[in-house]
């Protein structure tokens, strides 16, 4: 994805860095989203069908919004877009601050799993 972009020369990305762009280079070195955390199994949904071209956003932002038109989990996004989870989280943070995605957190980790849901899982697995 990023390889299609014109190469920008940064003095901190010299030959010693090797041929591979470090993942957080895509996020200008930011390693965590600005104001919230995104659980691996939280779902995100885009609130707009497509991004305006005027916005200061990267191709990765566009790819996330396109993939998130239907509800999609954070981990699925990372896997689908072949981006590392940490990088996806930073981009999601940007999109959320801009009001371009909604976030749906999974039930609290302390809450026991619903037995009816567990039964549905067992039945579903048996039917595979």
């Amino acid at each position: 994805m990023s390889s299609e972009q014109p190469r920008v020369t940064h003095d901190w990305l010299d030959n010693d860095a090797g041929p591979v762009v470090r993942p957080y280079a895509m996020t200008q070195g930011r390693v965590a989203p600005a104001d919230c955390d995104f659980d691996l199994v939280a779902f995100v949904v885009a609130t707009v069908p497509d991004l305006m071209s005027g916005q200061q956003l990267q191709p990765e932002h566009h790819a996330i919004v396109a993939a998130a038109w239907e509800p999609i989990s954070v981990v699925e996004l990372a896997s689908q877009l072949d981006l590392s989870v940490g990088v996806v989280r930073v981009f999601l943070g940007d999109l959320r601050s801009a009001g371009l995605i909604s976030l749906y957190e999974p039930p609290a980790a302390t809450q026991p799993h619903d037995v009816d849901v567990l039964k549905a899982v067992v039945n579903g697995l048996r039917a595979l």
């Binding site: 779902f43 989870v85 037995v115 849901v117 567990l118 039964k119 579903g124 697995l125």
Partner: protein
């Protein structure tokens, strides 16, 4: 448990529930094979920030390096439109323990794969899940040429708490791997009901 959205087009498309199951065990125990046999497996990259020197890569010579890439096996099983099961093959090396904390948070449970030729390899996984109170089953991956042990003998050798299921299976076989997951989910349900009854 469900969350429903209703803010788009006035309609309401439901947000699915995703449940996490961890597949743990020593190196070469069959984690990747198992995730691949029951689900559509894909690699998942996580780029982790190194927080200290402890257990991290030897960074001498590359002192500016502050992150490390970990690739995990990730698989999804779609139960219904609203219910998805995610399998995570946990990275085996000790230095990636910190990743387990996030993975096991809110996880439904774990499958610890055991190889009877190297039983001790799964001790760290068992210790970890026991300490965190994450329900787990032990699945003994039976390779063709190997002597088969009775599940009770494995449970004894691993000093498992009573009730922790031990199943013999073949990680390459879809049905067999699926039965392990069923065993785990049923075990979690039993624990849940028992906990509710004792309250």
């Amino acid at each position: 448990m469900d969350s429903v959205r209703s803010d788009r087009n006035g309609g309401s498309s439901r947000i699915p529930v995703a449940l996490k199951i961890l597949i743990a065990g020593g190196f070469g125990a069959g984690k990747t094979t198992m995730v691949g046999s029951v689900s559509e497996i894909r690699p998942l990259q996580t780029e982790e920030v190194l927080t200290g020197a402890e257990g991290a890569d030897d960074v001498s010579g590359v002192e500016t390096k502050t992150t490390t890439t970990v690739t995990m096996d990730f698989g999804r099983i779609t139960i219904t439109e609203d219910l998805q099961l995610y399998l995570f093959g946990t990275p085996g090396q000790d230095r990636f323990w910190f990743l387990w904390d996030e993975l096991s948070q809110g996880a439904l449970g774990a499958v610890v794969l055991a190889d009877t030729r190297r039983l001790a390899d799964c001790f760290p996984s068992i210790d970890y899940f026991e300490q965190r109170g994450t329900p787990f089953v032990v699945a003994v991956n039976c390779f063709d040429t190997e002597h088969r042990y009775a599940p009770e003998a494995v449970a004894r050798a691993l000093d498992l708490d009573p009730g922790v299921p031990v199943v013999l299976f073949d990680a390459r076989d879809q049905g067999s791997a699926r039965n392990v997951l069923i065993e785990l989910v049923e075990y979690v349900a039993r624990r849940q009901l028992a906990a509710a009854a004792s309250r």
